[in-house]
Amino acid sequence: MSLLTIEGVWKNYHGHSVLRGIDLSVEAHEVVCLIGASGSGKSTLLRCVNLLETVDDGTIHLDGKEITDVRVDADDVRKRMGIVFQAFNLFPHMTVLDNITLAPRKVHKVGREQAEHQARELLERFGLADKAASYPDRLSGGQQQRAAIIRAMATRPRLMLLDEVTSALDPALVTEVLSVIRELKEGGMTMILTTHEMGFCREIADTVCFLDDGVLLERGTPEQVFTDPRQPRTREFLRSVLDARRI
């Protein structure tokens, strides 16, 4: 059974369809990479999975249970997922350690000591041990984004959603965040991520999905999608990305 199953999901904003019948299933430990032009609906899809948006049609199942059912407690579902956004969204009035321990302590009722111990272990693992007591505005962008990923990790989610986590970063800082994601994959984390880093996408993804104007146009292994795309639109998109790289 798939960990996550998305079936026929539609999302409209002001009479305009942003997602138009998305079908996608994600197995445990699978890393799915969503690519597509800006505005094609990648973020919206992730926000729908995290129930930050309500879908206008279709269903999403997590662990075989429908989470788009209106009777489902959204907070309960979100406890089992982590999401990291492009803008880091750390809470500015808390230290890094408090940012990370907030959800384990308040939502999952882990004791303060244990939560902090786990947080410090994560910080150690991702090379941020010395920043535990710092406030977010004292961190570089790369460090903030790593802290945000650790915060999402701290609740031991079944599924991680990463939305262009490197887009707001200097090229020099991108690598440190990418290595964190690599480490997550090695740990067996199931992930859906969107990125503009095609090289990274090719390296890390088990499955690549190309989204075009709210339609999941193509889906396959990185090898297949990047070297031999079936759809002309995919080819066009990849070429435009390559052109942009050259300029």
Partner: protein, 309 residues
């Protein structure tokens, strides 16, 4: 592809030429292996000299303004009479004990009313933020409350509560005038403070809520741990400003009778036809509000500085 500003903030470049105030960033002194260059020493010497110069200019111009003011007022034709009725040292000494005694009541009213105002304001703001349909009646009540009590002049609220409430003759309704005064002030200021809190809550960026909700925090937890701490920090200066205002509005309670500072001053003035007791009251109020006003300035400056970083 932006975010370059973040990088510079982190790299802590030592070159802060011509920007005084930045010289105390980490690394400016005591960094291992760093000896200040002659260029830097010269720069710091210049900065010091400049700050001494601006200090002296400020002192001289302030003294000049004071001299001109005193000379202008003391030289006016009506001054001797004004001095006699408002600045009479004998009356000052005579009125001081009573007015001070009354003033302590003002302080007491203020100290009781302030926490109550905070609680009422916060509760009303939170209620207005509840989105679930069950809470509609509560929300409507909160809106009605702020509309009414922000609209009615405080002095009228004091009259209505002070004379109206006891007239109801209800069991359990306080008849003590000071208590009634506190209730009236709380009702009136609670409405203002609720709006201040609400503005603060609305000013926290929606992405902060989204981030908190995505971690599984409930609406209440998100408010309590993420939104409110940021909101309260942001509205602290305007809140303190309302408190300065509340401190002096405690004098309005005089209108229903309690013997606070203004009332005591009135009594003295009525028996001697000398207005110096009012001056006593004014001075006491100034003494009370100035520390809070300075503290407000301090907080405002600090948050300004933080945002500037």
């Amino acid at each position: 592809m932006d975010g370059g500003d973040r990088k510079t903030a982190a790299s802590g470049a030592p070159d802060t030429a011509g920007t005084p105030g930045l010289s105390d960033v980490p690394g400016a002194s005591g960094a291992p292996g760093w000896v200040k260059s002659a260029r830097q020493l010269e720069r710091e010497r210049l900065r010091r000299r400049r700050s001494i110069r601006s200090g002296s200019v400020a002192t001289v111009s302030t003294l000049l303004v004071i001299v001109l003011l005193v000379w202008g007022v003391a030289g006016s034709p009506g001054w001797p009479r004004v001095r006699e009725t408002f600045f009479n040292p004998e009356q000052f000494v005579k009125a001081l004990p009573d007015v001070l005694d009354g003033f302590l009541l003002n302080v007491k009213i203020f100290l009781i009313a302030e926490p109550l105002v905070l609680v009422v304001g916060l509760l009303v703001a939170l209620v207005r933020n509840l989105r679930a349909p069950v809470f509609f009646p509560l929300r409507a009540l909160a809106v009605a409350y702020t509309d009414v009590f922000r609209g009615v002049p405080t002095i009228l609220v004091i009259y209505l509560v002070g004379f109206g409430l006891p007239a109801l003759d209800l069991q359990g309704v306080p008849t003590d005038l000071v208590t009634l005064g506190v209730i009236a002030l709380t009702l009136s200021y609670g409405a203002y403070v609720a709006e201040v809190f609400r503005a603060g809550i609305d000013s926290v960026h929606p992405s902060q809520r989204a981030a908190a909700r995505s971690l599984g925090l409930s609406h209440g937890m998100t408010m309590r741990h993420v939104v409110l701490p940021q909101a309260v920090r942001r509205v602290a200066p305007p809140l303190l400003n309302d408190f300065v205002s509340l401190q002096k509005d405690t004098a309005l309670v005089a209108t229903i009778g309690p013997l606070e500072a203004l009332r005591q001053a009135q009594i003295h003035a009525a028996s001697t036809f000398n207005y110096t007791p009012y001056l006593v009251g004014a001075l006491l109020f100034i003494l009370l509000t100035i520390p809070l006003a300075r503290f407000t300035d301090y907080l405002a400056a600090r948050s300004q500085q933080r945002r500037g970083q």
